[in-house]
């Protein structure tokens, strides 16, 4: 018994030390952890790269802080696999005890993991994907979409065509959920006649059959949603078929960015784009962001980058409001809802379903001063546009 006493007291001391260390591990002085799940590999990898880099830019500009609160950004690649994303979420929530998650690019990944995140009491703040179910019936107080609701991208394109006065449209998209949503969104605001509607294969490499149908249908213009490499292939073949000279092409924002323009070259010139942000916006937040991004990374920011930056700054505004204490969930949520930050898009606020209400713009691809294609903002399509699902959300 006597022998045991010293060892017991030693044990108590050690236990006490461990306990102090553990409690100090959660003290306010430590940086707030932000878990980013994003797509960095595969053909869609550059989208995640832009979100990650611009998010990091916002942190670096404040010297490792967001809203004056020290943060540490954890980044992992989901490789566009929902199952991988689920594992990453688990390590962030259980292992790292992160309370703020962000970063997902693709809707199918978001659909698989966002419910897990918000049910655990953590916040998910989306810099890109915003599928319709999460905007409507399944909206959640801990889920915010900073970019848009998926449909809004294509609604803006539909209204853009409407504004141009084209009456006979040929529309096409790949045969999967996002493709169908795109055409549905387009038709919600385009009121003219649809002379042809095609769903293509998701792994299609040759579009000559579709192009011949377009030529035969003689539409006023074409609207297409072919994301990533599909869009590059489609656009190249569209130009080679001689269709661009006779039939203008309208796209939504995902079908035309700097990387796509670089890959297709002059073929992009004349394409009409609908977007919520462009590098030539003249508000101070945007000008500052574009200059800083170019200086740091040596490339033009895509709109994905602008969304990553806005997401970081939104989180910063809310962290500031609660003094870095994310455990005050109600106060943090209320601060996020206020959206008290200078968005690079200009006017920006959240609807009741915590999706953006914002302006949409018509852009066109022109030849820039250096002879390369560049995106130019032409006019406004929508003023303070929300989304179609907000009414279904009981929040």
């Amino acid at each position: 018994m006597r022998r045991m006493l010293p060892s017991l007291s030693a044990f108590a001391v050690v236990a006490g030390l461990v306990a102090t260390c553990l409690s100090s591990g959660a003290s306010a002085a430590d940086p707030v952890k932000i878990g980013m799940i994003t797509t960095l590999s595969g053909p869609g990898g550059y989208l995640g790269e832009d979100v990650r880099d611009s998010f990091q830019l916002a942190i670096d500009q404040e010297g490792g802080k967001l809203g004056g609160v020290p943060v540490s950004l954890l980044v992992q690649d989901d490789a566009l696999k929902p199952a991988t994303a689920k594992q990453i979420v688990e390590t962030y929530l259980q292992g790292e005890h992160a309370k703020i998650l962000t970063g997902i690019i693709f809707s199918n990944v978001a659909g698989a993991v966002v419910p897990d995140v918000v049910e655990s009491g953590a916040f998910y703040i989306s810099p890109n994907a915003a599928p319709s179910n999460l905007a409507g019936k399944e909206c959640n107080p801990n889920y915010f979409a900073v970019a848009w609701q998926n449909d809004a991208l294509h609604e803006a394109a539909g209204q853009n065509v409407q504004n141009h006065g084209y009456k006979r449209m040929f529309i096409l998209a790949p045969n999967y959920q996002a493709g169908k949503d795109a055409l549905t969104g387009f038709k919600r605001f385009y009121k003219g006649e649809i002379v042809g509607e095609i769903y293509t294969k998701l792994d299609q490499t040759d579009f000559s059959a579709e192009l011949a149908q377009i030529r035969a249908a003689k539409p006023d213009a074409v609207f297409q949603f072919q994301p990533g490499g599909l869009g590059i292939t489609f656009l190249k073949q569209y130009v080679q078929a001689g269709l661009k000279d006779t039939t203008p092409m309208f796209v939504s924002a995902p079908s035309m960015d700097w990387h796509i323009m670089e890959a297709v070259g002059d073929a992009a010139i004349g394409v009409q784009v609908a977007s919520h942000w462009n590098v030539d916006f003249d508000n101070p937040a945007s000008q500052q962001f574009v200059a800083a991004f170019k200086a740091k990374y040596g490339r033009m920011p895509t709109y994905y980058a602008s969304q990553g930056y806005d997401t970081a700054r939104l989180i910063g505004s809310a962290l500031k409001a609660v003094g870095g204490d994310v455990d005050k969930a109600d106060a943090f949520r209320a601060a996020l809802r206020k959206a008290d930050f200078a968005s690079v898009r200009g006017p920006f606020k959240f609807a009741n379903n915590q999706h953006p209400i914002q302006d949409w713009f018509a852009l066109s691809v022109d030849k820039g001063a250096d002879g390369k294609p560049t995106l130019k903002t032409v006019s406004k399509i929508f003023e303070q546009h929300g989304d179609a699902y907000a009414a279904e959300c009981k929040m």
């Binding site: 053909p43 550059y46 045969n175 095609i198 190249k236 080679q240 990387h259 670089e262």
Partner: protein
């Protein structure tokens, strides 16, 4: 009517593109008994090398040569370093190893070129379209692909049917052991055949650059269709690859072009679009299943 002619032409051109890939794959599969999933990677290497050379020199001919050479060299290296060890192993090992090669080449390409798709343009001389059939403006570049594909098919057929090397290749498809027993250096023959296959894949990739998206992973979707082609045509047979490629190209294009329209005249619009899209994407596989039922060894098998 004009539309049907145009779509037929599109189908033929797509078929010829598939043939360039299938020819190499079928030779390797038929003669060496090797399942090479990395054939699509050689296609990608051809496309990337051509795009890179094209950007440096601005010359389409040099780009084409660069693409073909890079793919052939990569093929030579793969055969030398990896595949040589796999000839005696069963197909599962080969699938595993060549699948590993796909991952390797995709990551290596990402490191070298980044994730952004590369720019590759149609050469000025082959840009635009001509109306060689009145009423159908057809892209000159696609005509050029048709021509090159036809030329390659003729050359290959001549090589296989008329030359001594071709005779050895045919003998290799029929009876490998006997060929070895007769004192032919089968190793050298395998290297030559594999490099030729790689070269053809590189040619397909280099020519595909200006009309498809040059990006990491571009070889995989095409590879699946290529396997369908060689199974339909009969493994190891150049004539079979040609027949299979044209058939797949035509069926794929024609169902995509006309099936939704046909269905629309029979049922409501949205159902027709959904069904048409679905059926046209499986049409090629239904065709393959049907042909295998009818002729289990393919349309024009190499032997027997």
């Amino acid at each position: 009517m004009l539309l049907i002619v145009e779509q037929l032409l599109n189908g033929l051109q797509f078929g010829v593109m598939l043939f360039l890939l299938a020819a190499g794959l079928t030779l390797v599969f038929g003669i060496m008994g090797l399942i090479n999933l990395a054939h699509g990677s050689l296609y990608m290497i051809g496309a990337f090398a051509a795009a890179a050379v094209g950007r440096l020199t601005g010359s389409f001919i040099l780009a084409l040569l660069g693409g073909v050479t890079a793919a052939a060299l990569a093929g030579l290296a793969i055969e030398w370093l990896v595949l040589r060890r796999l000839y005696q192993r069963d197909h599962l090992d080969q699938v595993l190893a060549t699948y590993g090669l796909i991952l390797f080449f995709n990551e290596a390409t990402t490191m070298l070129f980044g994730r952004q798709p590369l720019f590759a343009d149609v050469p000025a001389a082959l840009g635009g379209s001509i109306e060689f059939i009145p009423g159908i403006p057809y892209p000159v570049y696609r005509l050029a692909i048709l021509l090159v594909g036809g030329l390659v098919a003729a050359l290959l057929y001549g090589l296989i049917a008329r030359t001594r090397i071709g005779m050895l290749v045919r003998a290799g498809t029929t009876d490998r052991e006997m060929l070895r027993a007769l004192g032919v250096d089968v190793r050298l023959l395998y290297t030559a055949v594999f490099t030729l296959g790689a070269l053809l894949a590189g040619l397909a990739g280099a020519m595909a650059g200006p009309i498809f998206s040059v990006q990491v992973g571009m070889g995989e979707p095409v590879l699946i269709q290529t396997f369908v082609v060689i199974i339909i045509g009969g493994v190891g047979s150049i004539r079979g690859a040609m027949a299979g490629a044209l058939l797949v190209g035509l069926v794929d294009t024609m169902t995509r072009a006309f099936l939704p329209g046909l269905l629309r005249s029979m049922m409501p619009l949205s159902e027709a679009d959904a069904l048409g899209g679905g059926v046209s994407s499986i049409a090629v596989y239904v065709l393959m299943a049907g042909i295998l039922l009818w002729r289990p060894r393919g349309l024009l098998p190499a032997h027997g």
